[in-house]
Amino acid sequence: MLYREVGEFKTSYAADQQTFPIRFDKLAYFIILAFAFLVVPFLINDYWANAVLLPFLIFGIAAIGLNILTGYCGQVSLGSGGFMAVGAYACYKLMTGFPDMNLIICIILSGGVTALVGILFGLPSLRIKGFYLAVATLAAQFFLVWLFNKVGWFYNYSASGQINAPEREMLGIVISGPNSSPQAVYLVCLSFLTVLALIARNLTRGAFGRKWMAIRDMDIAAEIIGVNPLMAKLTAFGVSSFYVGIAGALLFSVYLGAVEVGEVFGIQKSFLVLFMIIIGGLGSIFGSLAGAAFLVLMPVVLKNVMVGSLGWPVDIAAHFEFLIVGSLIVFFLIVEPHGFAMLWRIIKEKLRLWPFPH
C-alpha cells in the first residue's frame, strides 16, 4: 500500500544486490537509525535504559550471533550462556589487566577470545550432527560456568567470587561502572549492535553466508560442490561466538557492572537466546532483533501489568512468564516455524501488492 516502486530499476548488480533494494525500505531504515541515535538518547531515563533498551540491544547482538550459527549454518547450540560468560570474563581480565586499554578495544578483544573458545568447542561439530551436537554444546555451557566458578584467577580471587566492572571513560564520558549515564551506555551498545548487524548482513549475503546455508540445507551436497564442511562450520562457530562474546562483555562491563557467573550466564540464558531466534525467525537478522525485543519486552509488560496494575506477588508474574514463553515457543513452532521474520515478509508482500491479495 505504501510502496511506490514504479521506475525503480537496477542498472548494475551492485545496486541489485544491496541490502535494501527498494527505495522505501532504505528510507525507513535510515529514519529508524536516525531516530535511534539522535532522538532516543534524549527520551530515555534509567528505568527505560536498564529495563528495556540495554537488554534488548545486548541480547540482540547475542541473538544475531546465535542465528548465524543456528539459523544460517544449522548448528544448534545450547552453549550461548557459557560463551557470553567467556566474553564477560575475558573483558574483566582485560580491563583489570590493562587498565589503560580503551573499553571498546577490550570488548572487541573479548569477542575475539570467545571466538577462539567457540571454535574449540565447534570442532566436534564435524562428527556430531543435529541435537547430538546441541547436547554436546551443553558441555561447553556447564564446563565454562564451572570453570569461572572454580578457578580464582578468572575473578582475581575476589572474596565474593563476583567480578565487578571498574569505571572506564571514552572521550571523557564515563561508560562503565556505577557512574555511567544511561545515554552513554545506550549509545555504546547501539553502536555495537548497528555495526555488528551490518557485518552479519554482509557476511550472510556473501560467499560465507552461502557456504553456511549450503551446509545447513544439505551438507553432503555442499561438500561435493566444494564447501569444506569443517571450515564452514568453524567459521560459523567463530563468528557466532564473537558476537555472543561481545554481548557477554557488554552485559558485564557496561550494563550489569557486577556479575556472578552462575546466575547471570546459566543454562537459562542459553535457552533465552535460543528462544529469541526461534520466535524471531531462524536465518534472519531482522528476526534476531525482533525476537530479542519481544522476549525482553514481554516480561517487563507482564510485570507491569500483574505486579504494577494488579498488585500480584512477583513470583506469580515470573511463573506466568515461563508459562507464556513456553506456550509461545510451541505456538510459533506449530503456526509459523519461521517466526516474526516470516510474518514480516508476508505483511511486506501484501503491502507491495496492495490492493491485490496476492
Binding site: 566436534p124 541435537f131 546441541a134 554436546a136 553432503i220 528462544f275 526461534i278 511463573h319 506466568f320 513452532l333
Partner: protein, 332 residues
C-alpha cells in the same frame, strides 16, 4: 587393604546407584524417542511436575492457591485433609496420563513429520510451560516428599562391611533410599522390556519406532501410540520424581536431572533401552569416581556439573552413533 580403596568402592557403589537414577530418567527419553522420534527435553520437568502433583495431593493443597489468593485476595492454601501415599500416587499417575493426552492433542498432532530439531525445541518450550504451570499450580517452594520409603544410611550393610577395612574404616555407607530406588528401577526396566516384547501394544510401539508408514499401513494409529508412550513416559517420570524427590526434596533443581540424562543417552544411544541403563551406570560411576579421584583433590570439586557432558562429547567424537546405535552410512 587401605581404607582409600574401600572408600573408592563405596563411591563406586554410590555411583552405580546414582547411575540407576539417571537410567530411570533416560528410560523416559528412550521410550518417547523410539516411538515418536521426539527428543523430549521436558522429561525432567515431567518428573518434577509429577512429584509436585504427588505432594500436592498428599498434603491436600489447593491448586493455584497463590493465584487465587492474588486475584481474589483470599487466603486459601489447603483443603485440610491429607491423602495416603498410595492414592496420591494413583491420582498423580492419572494427572500424568491426562497430561500425555493433552500433549498429543495440543502439540504433537500439529507437528507430525517436522524435523527432529523442531520437535526438540518444541519440547523445550513445553518444559518452560510446565515449569511455569507447575509452580503456578503448586507453588515454587521446596517441598518435602515422603511416601514412607526409609531413608538415611543403611546400618546393616555398614556394620557388616566394617570388618573389611580395619581400624579406620567403618563400613560402606549406602542410603537405603538408593537401594530401594535401584530395586524399583530394576523392576520397572524389566517390566518395560517385557511389555515392549510380549504385548501387542509393545510390538506396535516397536513397529512405529522402526517405520511410521509401515505402522500406519498395518492399522496402528500413530496418535494413540503417542498417547500411550507419553503416558508411560509420564509414569516413568513419576517414579523418577518420587525417588529424587524423596531423596533431595521437590525443587527446581530436580528438573536438571533431565539435562543429566542427555549425556547418558548419547552414550547409550537414543533408541536402546539397555543402552540407557548402561549409559546411566557409566555416567553415574564415572562422575562420582572422577570427582573422588581427580575432581575433589585436584580441580576444586563440583566436577559432576560437567563431567558427564564432557565424557559424552569426547565419546561422541569417536563414536557418533553411541554405544549401541548402528553405524550411519552416508549416501548421496
Amino acid at each position: 587393604m587401605p581404607a582409600e580403596f574401600y572408600y573408592g568402592v563405596e563411591v563406586f557403589l554410590n555411583g552405580l546407584m546414582a547411575g540407576v537414577m539417571y537410567s530411570l530418567v533416560a528410560l523416559g527419553f528412550v521410550l518417547i524417542f523410539k516411538a515418536s522420534g521426539i527428543f523430549n527435553y521436558a522429561q525432567g520437568i515431567m518428573a518434577l511436575f509429577a512429584a509436585m502433583t504427588l505432594v500436592g495431593f498428599q498434603e491436600g493443597q489447593i491448586p493455584f492457591a497463590h493465584l487465587i489468593n492474588a486475584v481474589f485476595g483470599t487466603e486459601v492454601h489447603h483443603f485440610g485433609w491429607t491423602m495416603p501415599a498410595f492414592f496420591a500416587i494413583l491420582f498423580a499417575l492419572g494427572v500424568m496420563l491426562l497430561f500425555a493426552f493433552l500433549v498429543e492433542k495440543l502439540i504433537l498432532k500439529h507437528l507430525v513429520n517436522q524435523e527432529p530439531i523442531i520437535l526438540f525445541m518444541a519440547t523445550i518450550g513445553l518444559a518452560y510451560f510446565m515449569e511455569g504451570f507447575g509452580d503456578l499450580m503448586w507453588g515454587s517452594n521446596v517441598k518435602k516428599l515422603d511416601i514412607g520409603i526409609p531413608q538415611g544410611g543403611n546400618f546393616w550393610i555398614e556394620e557388616n562391611t566394617a570388618f573389611l577395612g580395619g581400624a579406620d574404616f567403618y563400613g560402606f555407607y549406602l542410603d537405603t533410599l538408593d537401594i530401594y530406588a535401584t530395586v524399583i528401577a530394576a523392576v520397572l526396566v524389566t517390566s518395560l522390556v517385557l511389555f515392549s516384547q510380549y504385548t501387542k501394544t509393545g510390538r506396535a510401539l516397536r513397529a512405529v519406532a522402526d517405520d511410521h508408514q509401515a505402522a500406519l499401513s498395518v492399522g496402528i494409529s500413530l496418535r494413540s501410540i503417542w498417547v500411550i508412550v507419553w503416558g508411560i513416559a509420564g509414569f516413568v517420570a513419576l517414579v523418577a520424581g518420587i525417588m529424587w524427590g524423596s531423596k533431595s526434596g521437590v525443587q527446581f533443581s530436580l528438573s536438571l536431572i533431565a539435562l543429566k540424562a542427555l549425556p547418558v543417552l548419547m552414550l547409550g544411544g537414543f533408541t536402546s533401552i539397555p543402552g540407557a541403563i548402561i549409559g546411566g551406570l557409566i555416567i553415574g560411576v564415572g562422575e562420582k569416581m572422577f570427582e573422588f579421584l581427580i575432581g575433589a583433590p585436584l580441580l576444586g570439586g563440583a566436577t559432576e556439573n560437567w563431567f558427564a557432558y564432557m565424557l559424552a562429547l569426547v565419546f561422541l567424537v569417536f563414536r557418533p552413533q553411541g554405544l549401541f546405535g548402528e553405524k550411519i552410512i552416508e549416501r548421496v
